[in-house]
Each structure stands twice: as structure tokens, then as C-alpha cells.
Amino acid sequence: MGRARDERVHQHRQETVSRGLALCLLAFLLTGCNGGTVDRHALERDAEKVGSLATEGELLANDVSKGASTKNFARVHAQELSRAASNFADALAKRPTSPGIEARVRRLSKLAGKVSDELEQLHRHPTDRDVAASLQQPLSEDADAADQLSK
């Protein structure tokens, strides 16, 4: 009797530990996910990220326009930033949104697409100082627009 009860207790403990581990794993996996519904908090975070990409692109464009960067660095890094912005544009266009913020989410998606296109131009013309100079103002405005959407 006692042995059977001990086994049940042992089994119960094992199940509890297994469930706990499964929950931890689930929580861990969820931290890495970029999907789900876009709520106000997610909108704020994504707008900050898009603004960050635009501002970094502006810094890079400024350096290229002054001849302070190198061709390979400008080409590769502009493409990295462009891809990141493009990923935001795609994700924000598709993901469901909380009620009341849909228009802002779609606006942010379009803005991210615009940032991506501008950075793509820098990627294609990494040594063209005029192109780089012409991109600074739009990227700066994009960063301001993203900042507005994050509030």
C-alpha cells in the first residue's frame, strides 16, 4: 500500500515537473515569436524599431554623402537595414490588430516599406554622394513619422 502510494506521489511529482518544464519551454518559445495580434504596446515597440532603422539609415547616408564610409560597408549594411524594415512592413501588413489601432498599424507598415525602399537605394548606389545626400531628409522625416506613431 505504502509503496503504491509512494509511486503515485513520485509519478505526480514527475508530471508536475514535466508540466512545469513544458510551460517554461512554451514561454521561452513565445519570447522568440514575432507574430500574434498587434496591440498598442506592440505598435509602440514596432514604431520605435522602424524609427531606429530610419535614423540609422540617415546616419549611414550622411557618412556616404561625406565620403566617410566605404563602398562595401555602405552596400552591405544598407541592405541589412533595408531587409529589417521590409520584414516589419510585411509583418505589420498581415498581422491582426487590436480594435481601434488598425489604421495606425497599416500606416506604420507603409512607412516601414518606404524606409526599406530608401535604404535599398543606398544599397544600390553605395558610392553616389548625391543619392546619399538626397536620402537624408526623407529618412529623417520617416524617423519623425515613426516617432509620432509610437506615441
Binding site: F28, T31, E48, L59, A68, S69, V76
Partner: protein, 407 residues
């Protein structure tokens, strides 16, 4: 040449403190909290100096490296757990570092990333196979010193020095205390990451340290890790001065180098890229050797780069296999920066299994004779054991609660 004799400490520190994850982590900490977390780096530097000096002394006096001590002091089962944890974290870090080398080469050359992964892997294999341990230390350790360009960049960005000074005083002044705690734990975990001491203690044996080298051991630990800490300060100040006000969240290796490009132009950019290439390449070699050292020491195999590859065949096969697995993993397209951030947090969990045996052996007269720990080493060692326990218990919950530092 005395200057060459501290290469081990410099390589261990540059590979450990400013690898791909730490570069991004330090600059991100600055970009998020300004100079507020500088004090955490100081605590991390004192901790790693304390334990590196200890395990270097153990290596010099007893001829035993860290995993010899782990096996003897923790027993087979617990030791095996420590070994598995160490190997998983080492492999994650090695994968990330190889990816980092390829990214750096891409930013320098513009060639396709996947080809550069293969080139990076082949170059590492050739370097490790044909180059002596001394020259690996010197080339990667001193090449990594190009990162000092970030110290110049930090000054040229004209930070508010009063605020920088205030950053060295422990304080919490933020609306996001959990995120602050996540960065603090991450910075401490990165400073005391276990592979640094595996590499450092085994390196002492590679260099055949004996009792006469105890001064050299102290110099290596203090100068090497002090330099690593100095570079961490510089990176955080660059993050705080350039990125914080502009709202930039640096998430790419290229973003870090913009921190040197903006104040210093092309020369700053190139020095930063070359420095990162050597630092990340050095970290790849640190982790590659650390994985092979840990397994060989735990299983009692012949080991050491000072031997001909045929003189330690299982050690040689181990690092070759680790390199091939890491290359396979990085070819899957995993993001090296994210991977190494996970590695830093997971390594924090394994910290006690590495540092407790070091403290025990450093106090054992049968190994250490008259060279056991003094009062200062024991007081610091015990204080840091508490710090390590706190880090290991809080690292993963904080990672989940802050969505890996994103919220």
C-alpha cells in the same frame, strides 16, 4: 619580450569580453540606459580577474586546468552535467562567432555571406592546425587591440563626463527596472562567461606555467581583463553618446561600427571592422579550444595545442568535429547576434558549476601547497559566488519577462 607574455590574458579577455554578443550587448546597454550600467562592468571585471588569477594559479602550481578540478570536485554525475552545459554553450558561442567572422568579412569585402562562412571555417581550421599557441595568442590578441578605436570614438563623441562618472556609481534610475536588471545580469554573465576561464587555465598549461610564473599570471589577469573592461566602457559610452538621443537600437554588427565611423570617418570604420574581425576570430578560437579542452580534461585524454596533432589525436578530432558542427549550424542561417545573446544568458546558468570547483581547489593544500588562496582572494571569491548564484537564478526568468531585452 615581456609585452608578448601577457598575450594570453589579452586574448582571453578580448575573446571573452568583446565577442560578437558582448559588442552588441554593451552598445545596446549604452543605447538603452546611457552610462548608467558602467558600474556593472566594473563588478564583472573584478570578478573575472579574481577567478582567472585563481585558476591560473591552480594551473601553475598543480598542473590542473578547470575541468580536471570539476571532475575531481563535483564527481562524475554533476561533472557530466557541467560538461554538457559547457559544451552546449560553447557550441552556441562558437557558431555565433563564426557567423560574426563571416559578417565582418562581408562588411569588408562585400562578398556573399554563405561563401564567407566557409572561408571563415577553413581559415580557422588552418590557423589552429598550423599556428603555435603563442602566435595564435599574439596575432588575435594584439589584432583585437584595433578595437581601441572605440575609446578614441568615445572621446570624440564628447560625452557628458559628469554623467559618465555617475555611471560608475551603482544606481537605478529608470522606468524599466526589469529591463535594467536584464542588461545588468547579461553584462555580468558576459564578463564572467565560463569559456574564458576554461581557455585561460588551459592556456596556462599550454604555456607550461610553474610557480615562477605566478606574477605573470597576475599580470595577465589584471592587464588582460582590465583592458577588456576598458573596451566595454568605451563601447557603452559610444552607445550612450551616439545612439541614445537618436533613439537607435543597434542590433547588427554593422551598427556598432557606425559608432566609430561617425566620429572618425573611414579610418575609424576600417579599424573597427579589423578589430572586430580579430576579436570575434579570437573568440571563435577560444570557444573551439575550450570545448576540446573541457572534454579532454573531463575524460582524461591527452590534450594541448603544444602537442603535435597526432600526439593528442582525440583532442584534435574533438576541435575538428566542433568546428564542422558549428559551420553546419551557422549555414542554416541562424542570426549570430541573437544566438550569442542566448548563449550569454544560458552560460549564466552554468556559472556555479564552473566557479565553485575553482574556489575549492584553490583552497586545497594538497594541490596548492603554500600557494592556497589568501584572505582577499577568498573574500572576493565568496562574494562573487553569491553574485554568480543570483545571476544563474535570475538570468532565464529575466530573459522571458523582458522578451530577450526587447520590452
Amino acid at each position: 619580450m615581456k609585452i608578448f607574455q601577457i598575450a594570453l590574458g589579452i586574448l582571453a579577455a578580448i575573446g571573452g569580453f568583446v565577442d560578437i554578443g558582448d559588442l552588441v550587448f554593451n552598445v545596446s546597454a549604452g543605447a538603452t540606459f546611457g552610462y548608467q550600467l558602467l558600474w556593472v562592468v566594473v563588478i564583472g571585471v573584478i570578478g573575472i580577474i579574481t577567478y582567472s588569477e585563481m585558476c591560473g594559479r591552480v594551473a601553475a602550481i598543480s598542473g590542473k586546468a578547470v575541468f580536471d578540478a570539476v571532475r575531481e570536485r563535483l564527481g562524475f554525475k554533476t561533472g557530466l552535467m557541467a560538461l554538457i552545459a559547457a559544451q552546449v554553450v560553447n557550441l552556441m558561442t562558437l557558431t555565433a562567432e563564426i557567423g560574426g567572422v563571416a559578417i565582418c568579412l562581408q562588411l569588408l569585402s562585400g562578398l556573399p555571406y554563405r561563401w564567407l562562412i566557409l572561408i571563415a571555417g577553413a581559415a580557422l581550421a588552418v590557423v589552429v592546425w598550423v599556428t603555435s599557441f603563442d602566435w595564435i595568442e599574439r596575432v588575435f590578441g594584439y589584432g583585437g587591440l584595433c578595437l581601441l578605436v572605440f575609446a578614441v570614438a568615445a572621446v570624440k563623441l564628447h560625452p557628458v563626463w559628469g554623467a559618465v562618472g555617475h555611471g560608475f556609481v551603482p544606481h537605478v534610475d529608470t522606468k524599466s527596472p526589469l529591463l535594467y536588471a536584464y542588461f545588468a545580469i547579461g553584462l555580468l554573465g558576459a564578463a564572467m562567461t565560463p569559456y574564458e576561464v576554461y581557455f585561460y587555465s588551459s592556456g596556462g598549461i599550454e604555456e607550461r606555467w610553474g610557480p615562477k610564473d605566478l606574477g605573470l599570471n597576475k599580470a595577465n589577469a589584471m592587464i588582460g581583463y582590465g583592458l577588456g573592461g576598458f573596451l566595454s566602457f568605451a563601447l557603452m559610452i559610444v552607445g550612450g553618446s551616439l545612439f541614445l538621443d537618436k533613439g537607435i537600437e543597434p542590433e547588427f554588427l554593422g551598427s556598432i561600427t557606425i559608432g566609430a565611423e561617425v566620429p572618425l570617418g573611414q579610418i575609424g570604420l576600417l579599424l573597427a571592422l579589423v578589430g572586430i574581425l580579430f576579436a570575434v576570430g579570437g573568440a571563435a578560437i577560444d570557444t573551439l579550444f575550450s570545448g576540446a579542452y573541457a572534454l579532454a580534461q573531463f575524460l582524461g585524454w591527452e590534450w594541448g595545442r603544444y602537442r603535435h596533432p597526432r600526439g593528442a589525436p582525440r583532442f584534435t578530432v574533438t576541435w575538428l568535429v566542433l568546428l564542422v558542427i558549428a559551420l553546419g549550424l551557422v549555414m542554416t542561417g541562424v542570426d549570430p547576434v541573437q544566438l550569442t545573446e542566448y548563449a550569454v544568458i544560458f552560460s549564466a546558468v552554468a556559472l556555479p558549476l564552473t566557479y565553485i570547483p575553482i574556489l575549492l581547489v584553490a583552497n586545497d593544500r594538497s594541490y596548492m601547497r603554500e600557494y592556497t588562496n589568501g584572505t582577499l582572494a577568498n573574500v572576493l571569491g565568496l562574494i562573487y559566488l553569491v553574485v554568480i548564484l543570483v545571476i544563474s537564478l535570475t538570468a532565464i526568468p529575466l530573459m522571458i519577462l523582458t522578451n530577450v531585452g526587447q520590452n
